[in-house]
Amino acid sequence: MAVSRKLSKVLRDRKGDAAIEFIMVTAMLILVFSVLVTALVYVTQVYNASYITRRVVRQIETTGEYNEHTVQTLVNELGGDALSGVKIQVEAGYCSGKKIQLRDSFSVTLTANYPVRIVQFGSSVISLDLPIQIRLAGRSEVYWK
């Protein structure tokens, strides 16, 4: 009985409520800020992936062929290695080897992940992988005999 009376007194005591309110509001603000920053970084990464895909499409258009090594070098040069698990897939009707005939269309699909670190306990990290997928089409500008 005495314990419940003491607990009731503690719960009704309004001393320090401003400090608790401050801590809770600050925690909420930090959470909202973190979500906003993460969203902003994700949008930036998607924009970057879109730019890389456009450059890859343009390279295949002007050379008229899909060279995996050249494309991978270009992707790395443009900062694609900063994305996690980048994969470039090219769909085309090749006329010979990896050559695409003039005016024939092809599509380039870039897939990657943006890992969002949620919480870290020592060396183990719990993260969420947000997917990034960009698909663009192009046409070869080279006539192959």
Partner: protein, 144 residues
């Protein structure tokens, strides 16, 4: 009247609305400019690809083995218009003011305008028209 003008009651509200309007206008202009650049870049890529392809498709192959490059200019002009019309996305229109070219050296230059919808066109039927100049030359004698 003078008393009314000197009365500072509600000045903060007027200042707030003034700043809000200025901020909205600035945001609108930045977004519209970004959208215009994106559309223009897309149209320019398609037009450049069309002129490159028009030159590539109309090279006279009879002399290429002798390292002589000749362009069928009239056919290239027709190809440019056809390729650009085929590739231009929905909502985009283009005009060709002039297409000039030379057979030797093989070069083609096209000038005109391209029109695309403005970013805020749902709030009024507006579109943006910009000029373009695209040029292509072919110096490939590697027999490809």
């Amino acid at each position: 009247m003078r008393r009314l003008l000197r009365d500072r009651t509600g000045s903060a509200t007027i200042l707030f609305f003034g700043l809000f309007f200025a901020l909205m206008l600035f945001s609108f202009l930045v977004l519209e400019m970004g959208g215009t650049m994106e559309h223009y870049d897309r149209a320019q890529t398609i037009l450049q690809r069309s002129v490159n392809s028009a030159v590539e498709a109309n090279m006279d192959e009879r002399y290429r083995a002798d390292r002589v490059l000749r362009l069928n200019v009239e056919a290239a002009k027709a190809s440019f218009a056809a390729f650009a019309a085929e590739d231009m996305p929905e909502g985009y229109t283009f005009t060709v003011q002039s297409v000039t070219g030379t057979a030797d050296p093989p070069m083609l230059t096209a000038k005109g305008t391209v029109t695309f919808p403005a970013l805020f066109s749902p709030f009024g039927d507006r579109s943006i028209t910009v000029g373009y100049t695209v040029r292509a030359a072919n110096f490939a004698v590697d027999g490809r």
